[in-house]
Symmetry: C2
Subunit: 219 residues, 2 copies
DNA sequence: ATGTATAAACATACTTGCATGTTTGTTTAT
DNA sequence: ATAAACAAACATGCAAGTATGTTTATACAT
C-alpha cells in the first residue's frame, strides 16, 4: 500500500529521479548490455517517462557516462574502506585479492565490458569516459600506496603487483563470459594470491618472518 | 587493369565469396565493433551483395561465428608454430610471453572484446561461440603441455602459469581501450615475464642453472 | 561437341520493427 | 505567475530478414 507521496522540493524530485535513472542504467548495462538497452528501457526500469529522462540527460550517452561515474565512485569508496580496515585491524594479502575479486565480480567489471566497445568506437563517449576512469585510477593508486605503507613495501613495486592482479582479474572475468569452469578460475585466483604474497614477502627485510596470513594492524 | 575474370567452378566462387566475407567481418569487428557493423557493411566491405551474404549465411550471427572460428583457428596455428620453433631452435620464457602479447594485440583480443557482450546476452550466439572457443582452449592446453615438456616443468603448474599470463594480457588489452600509457603496460608486461620466468625456474631441479634466457632446443 | 534443363550463386527491392531525439502538452513546486 | 519537472506523441532513420528476379555453372541428351 503506497501511501500518497508527500510534497517534495524540486531538488528532491530531481535527485530522486536522477538516482532512479542511474540505478536502472547500471542494472540494465549488467543485465542486457549497452547496445541491447534502449533509452526507453532505462526510463521504464526507473519508473519514469521518456520525457523525464530526456529532461535530465541530453542523450543516452550522457546517461551512461553518469551511471559509470556513479558506480566507479561507489567502488572507490569500497576500496578506501578496505584499505582503512586493513590499517585499523590488519589483514592478509589474500584478503586483499579476495576483496578485489568480489568488488570486480560484483557487477563492476561486467558493466565495464559492456561499454568498452563503445569506448573504442565512439570518440565523444571515450573522451567523457576517460575522465571518470582517470579519477578511478587515481583512487586505485592512492589505495595501493596506502597498502604499501601498511605492508612496509616499496610503493612503486606494490602498485605494479596490484595493477597486474587487477588485470588478471579483468581477464578472468572476461573469460568467464564464455567459459564455465569454477575449478579453473579458483586455481587462477589462488595463483594470483600466491604471486602477491610472494612479492610482498620478498620486498620485506629478509629477517622478518613471513606475514602472509596477517599483516599490520593495531595490536 | 583487371583482366576479364576467368571461368571459375561453383565451388571456387563460393569459397572466394565466403573468404572475402569472413575477412571483411573480422576487419569490421575490429574497426567498428559488433553492434556498429551491419550486414550491409559486411557485404560492402567484402565487395559482394547483400543477397550473396544471405545466400551463404542465414544471419549476421552466423557470419560472425564463422569469422570467429576462422580467426581462432589461424591463432591456434600460430601458437603451434611458436611451440614448434621453441622445440626445434629453443627459446626463452620471455619470448613466449612476447609472442602471446603480439598474438593477442594483433586484433585477436580486440575482436574478442567486441563480441563478448553478445555472448553474455544472446543465448543462441553464446552456444555457437562456446563451441569454437572450446576448440581454441583445447589447442592452448596442448601448447602449454608441449612447452612444459620442452622446459622440463610440471604440466599442470605450467598450464596455470600460462593461463594466468593469458588472463593478465586480456586485462591489459581491455584496459588499453581507455588508458593510453605505454610505460604502464610495459611495466606490467615485464612483470608478467618475471613471474613466468621465476615459476618456470622454480619448477626445475635446484641444481640446474637458470635457463631463463634460453631454454631447450637442439644443440 | 552443342544445346538445354536445372540448380547454385548472386543481386535488388521491399517490409517490418525499433531506437533516438524532438516537440508539444500537462502537472507540480516556488 | 512562472519555471522546473514530467508525460505522451511524433518524425526520422536504419537494421534485419525476406522475397523475388537475374546470372553463372553444370549435368544430360542428342
Amino acid at each position: 500500500m503506497a501511501e500518497a507521496r508527500r510534497r517534495r522540493t524540486q531538488q528532491e524530485r530531481s535527485a530522486d529521479t536522477i538516482d532512479a535513472i542511474l540505478r536502472a542504467t547500471i542494472d540494465l548495462l549488467y543485465e542486457r548490455g549497452f547496445y541491447r538497452t534502449s533509452a526507453t528501457d532505462i526510463a521504464e526500469r526507473a519508473g519514469v517517462s521518456r520525457g523525464a529522462l530526456n529532461h535530465h540527460f541530453a542523450s543516452k550517452e550522457d546517461v551512461v557516462v553518469s551511471a559509470i561515474r556513479h558506480q566507479l565512485q561507489a567502488s572507490t569508496a569500497r576500496l578506501h574502506a578496505m584499505a582503512r580496515t586493513i590499517r585499523e585491524r590488519g589483514g592478509s594479502t589474500d584478503e586483499v585479492v579476495d576483496f578485489i575479486w568480489s568488488l570486480m565480480t560484483d557487477r563492476l567489471y561486467f558493466v565495464t565490458m559492456e561499454y568498452l566497445p563503445e569506448v573504442r568506437h565512439n570518440r565523444d563517449f571515450k573522451d567523457k569516459v576517460v575522465v571518470v576512469v582517470k579519477e578511478f585510477h587515481a583512487g586505485l593508486e592512492a589505495i595501493w600506496s596506502e597498502l604499501a605503507e601498511q605492508f612496509g613495501t616499496d610503493a612503486v613495486r606494490t602498485a605494479t603487483v596490484m595493477n597486474a592482479t587487477m588485470c588478471t582479474v579483468r581477464g578472468m572475468i572476461a573469460q568467464s563470459a564464455s567459459k564455465d569452469d569454477a575449478r579453473y578460475f579458483d586455481d587462477l585466483l589462488n595463483y594470483c594470491k600466491e604471486q602477491v604474497a610472494r612479492e610482498i614477502d620478498r620486498m620485506k627485510p629478509a629477517s622478518e618472518p613471513s606475514r602472509r596470513h596477517r599483516v599490520g594492524g593495531r595490536p
